[in-house]
Amino acid sequence: MIQEFKKVWKPYVIGMLWMLGLLWPMLGVHPDGTLTFQKTFTVWSYIVAGSFVILLVYVLNASGSITFITNPVSKAVSGAKSSAQAMPTWVWIVTALVACFVFPQFADRYGTDVAINVLLYICLGLGLNVVVGLAGMLDLGYIAFYGVGAYTYALLNTVYGLAFWVCLPFAGIFACIAGCIVGYPTLRMRGDYLAIVTLGFGEIIRLILNNWMELTNGPNGILGIDRIGWFRFAFEGGIGFETIWVKKLGLFYYFALGLTILVVIGVNRLNFSRVGRAWESIREDETAAELMGVNTFIYKLLAYAMGAFFAGLAGAFFAARMKFVSPESFTFLESAMVLCMVVLGGMGSIPGIILGVAALIALPEVFREFEAYRMLVFGATMIIMMLFRPAGLIPAKRMGQRSDDKE
């Protein structure tokens, strides 16, 4: 045990001193120019005590002194893991679906609202996953297509009075067209250059929404967008249709869930198709893919357009839920958030992205009391994630296993 301790004490001391150096400017330097040390030391001593306990446990574990505790625990964990793996995938899917379906019955309005947000972000995340995870193109302006979808529904509805279901495909298609327009000139670039250019185009679309007063009402946004309409046969005074507005959030939740399921199925199908394979070859090595007969330009454009399409659909739902859109909802920070969800969850992995979205949308809501520290925790989480699970929470299944599945 002493041996083990000797190995780790040096980095521990250095780390703690470094922590002190970091803490002092944050806690000890006051805006009025006074410098104090008291508070810094108090906080620091807590951290030292806490981390020393962790260190002690680590050392004990490494030296094998506490096997009587760790052995049963690790056994239980591995047992749970293997039984989880033994369960076929459909069990998971059915469980998740049932949970999703009964959720609004148990949740209050606030919970349902957060759940809808999660569902829409899942659609966004999966759409971005096509671009980033499958085709390997870093897109920093992705939220712009969400905006195009939202504004398409908002404008078609407020100006022409078209119903939601008529506008939904248009929202997707317009976002898709916007994706092609942006993609056509930019996709000749690769890697970092592409990321910067997409960032620029994302901002351009936001600025257009912000400044085209006649069309979009600029920063004031568009008010009075209709909710989702739903038809029902009405028998009073002859047979006809009656429009029901989806006013209950619970009902809206089910529509959002329907969209999410469609997007999950769509992305899953794309992933395992010939197109998905072409995308993956482009991600792996663009020149080699070209030499093997993959039309890289068309497939990259397709990835971009598909991603934009999903974002557009989600955007229409967003507009219908908020009944209000303004350019503020589509800033770069949102693009970065969606990207974080994809990376955190695991690029290319559908369950991973769902988990990533849940982690980044739902958890901050749960811990609302600590709102002030949200960004701090967020940053720390990202760093820890990249250190310990660089491929994401649920890494994408290796493609090699895909050919196994077929046999």
Partner: protein, 240 residues
């Protein structure tokens, strides 16, 4: 063998921006033969292959394939026409499995049954790939990756196979194996092969004809056997 070359370059100039890598290269490749192109680093060998595939665009001159000018044909069309390149440094898809690398080689083809047969054929040709079919391409050794790159190119059913430095970074015994396979492919399927190599000795032994490149120009063209005996070549490229 007919007299009509299957692949021909006529006075081709190309380069990267202001740097001219090829200064008027003319070569002919006849159907069914193995042609070696040897030369030092930076002589323009790889650029020659990249120009044939139009990854690097020719500024001047013509590239003809089966009598047709292919300067303006997009690179991804070439495998469908039967012209495929194994690029320098192998460039397999590292995170895809061996099998999927092969499936991607057959990307333009739609005949599923025949593709399955061809994959089996590739495993017969390279048994080690069959053993590792589920493994990620990036985890293979250098020699296995080179085999995979060749097998992947063969999946396009090429009439002409362009090989860029198949010996790069490989142990001598593996290089010998690779060249034996290249000769087999040529003999059994009648595939025409243009191989670019620094390892002049092996390349010329495998080939029927050879070109020597220096600073973007073809300086010598002869039968492989006579090139091997040429004292100048022996001194410059075979280290004697």
């Amino acid at each position: 063998m007919s007299d009509q070359p299957i692949l021909e370059m006529k006075n081709v100039h190309s380069g990267y921006g202001s740097i001219k890598a090829l200064k008027g290269v003319s070569i002919k490749v006849m159907p069914g033969e193995i042609v070696a192109m040897i030369g030092a680093n930076g002589a323009g060998k790889s650029t020659t292959l990249m120009t044939i595939c139009n990854i690097v665009q020719a500024e001047q001159g013509e590239v003809l394939y089966e009598g047709r000018v292919i300067n303006k044909v997009n690179p991804e069309k070439l495998p469908t026409m039967g012209l495929c390149q194994v690029p320098e440094g192998r460039r397999i898809f590292p995170r895809l499995s061996v099998e999927e690398n092969l499936i991607l080689g057959a990307f333009y083809r739609n005949d599923k049954d025949q593709i399955a047969k061809d994959i089996q054929h590739a495993y017969d040709l390279f048994p080690i790939l069959g053993e590792r079919r589920r493994q990620e391409g990036g985890t293979l050794s250098g020699g296995e990756q080179q085999m995979l790159a060749i097998a992947r190119a063969l999946m396009t059913k090429p009439k002409v196979l362009l090989l860029d430095e198949p010996s790069l970074g490989l142990a001598p015994i593996i290089i010998q194996q690779i060249f034996d396979i290249i000769k087999d492919i040529n003999r059994e399927d009648g595939t025409t092969i243009l191989v670019v190599e620094q390892n002049a000795n092996l390349a010329l032994q495998a080939a029927s004809r050879g070109y020597v490149m220096e600073t973007g120009e073809v300086t010598l063209e002869d039968k492989a056997s006579s090139l091997l005996e040429n004292p100048k070549i022996r001194e410059a490229y075979l280290g004697e």
